[in-house]
């Protein structure tokens, strides 16, 4: 069966520091991968998605970037965090080729101080 991991689970970072959040999927190959942000009391905002290694699409202009160095690894990064980057970050995967059911990881809580 497929599983999705995210780490760290919680992170407290100062403003201006770098960020790296990691997401990995097991038990499947060539998944579509997604990064979402969920601000407190708000819905999900799609940040990035990827349909293959090295293929990243950005949904909103922002302070963050994403990379997919391996088939089942998706990384969310920032060179300098802003206060507004605080939130709950969720990674998700879906099978490729048109099946659109997304399966979510446990999330990373990021607090920027």
């Amino acid at each position: 069966s497929q599983t999705i991991h995210q780490w760290p689970a919680t992170l407290v970072q100062p403003v201006g520091s770098p960020l790296s959040l990691e997401c990995t999927v097991e038990g499947t190959s060539n998944p579509n991968l997604y990064w979402y942000r969920q601000a407190a009391g708000r819905g999900l905002q799609l940040l990035f998605y990827s349909v293959g290694i090295g293929q990243i699409s950005s949904e909103v202009p922002q302070n963050l970037s994403a990379s997919r160095p391996q088939d089942r690894q998706f990384i969310l990064s920032s060179k300098k965090l802003l206060l507004s980057d605080s939130g709950f970050y969720l990674c998700a995967w879906s099978p490729s080729a048109g099946q659109e059911t997304q399966y979510f990881g446990p999330g990373t809580r990021l607090l920027v101080l």
């Binding site: 579509n32 819905g43 999900l44 699409s57 879906s94 099978p95 490729s96 099946q99």
Partner: protein, 116 residues
């Protein structure tokens, strides 16, 4: 453009009472539709999905949803709510126009509170 509306931001029901969470979508063709549940501090868990066929869909944890094309709705129901159902519920529509990217469009969510 596709969109999903969950009209109720917050709903409170008594334990044992029935539940209906509303979801309306805007989409030009037959959509893929989903309901997810999120407990505090957790990721989203898929409750059920509709792709085609029978318009009444059964999911996990005793939930069901009915696709009504004429009303552009996909409401989630449960006949008897348990305290453990307190969570946030998200409705989503599959964005078929995105060339197999699998993107979903989510509603803003409905927070369910269960009174003892």
């Amino acid at each position: 453009a596709q969109s999903v509306t969950q009209p109720d931001i917050h709903i409170t029901v008594s334990e044992g009472a029935s539940l209906e969470l509303r979801c309306n979508y805007s989409y030009g063709a037959t959509p893929y539709l989903f309901w997810y549940v999120q407990s505090p501090g957790q990721g989203l868990q898929l409750l059920l999905k509709y792709f085609s066929g029978d318009t009444l869909v059964q999911g996990i944890k005793g939930f069901e949803a009915e696709f009504k094309r004429s009303q552009s709705s996909f409401n989630l129901r449960k006949p008897s709510v348990h305290w453990s159902d307190a969570a946030e519920y998200f409705c989503a529509v599959g964005d078929r126009g995105s060339s197999n990217t699998g993107k979903l469009i989510f509603g803003q969510g409905t927070t369910l509170q269960v009174k003892p």
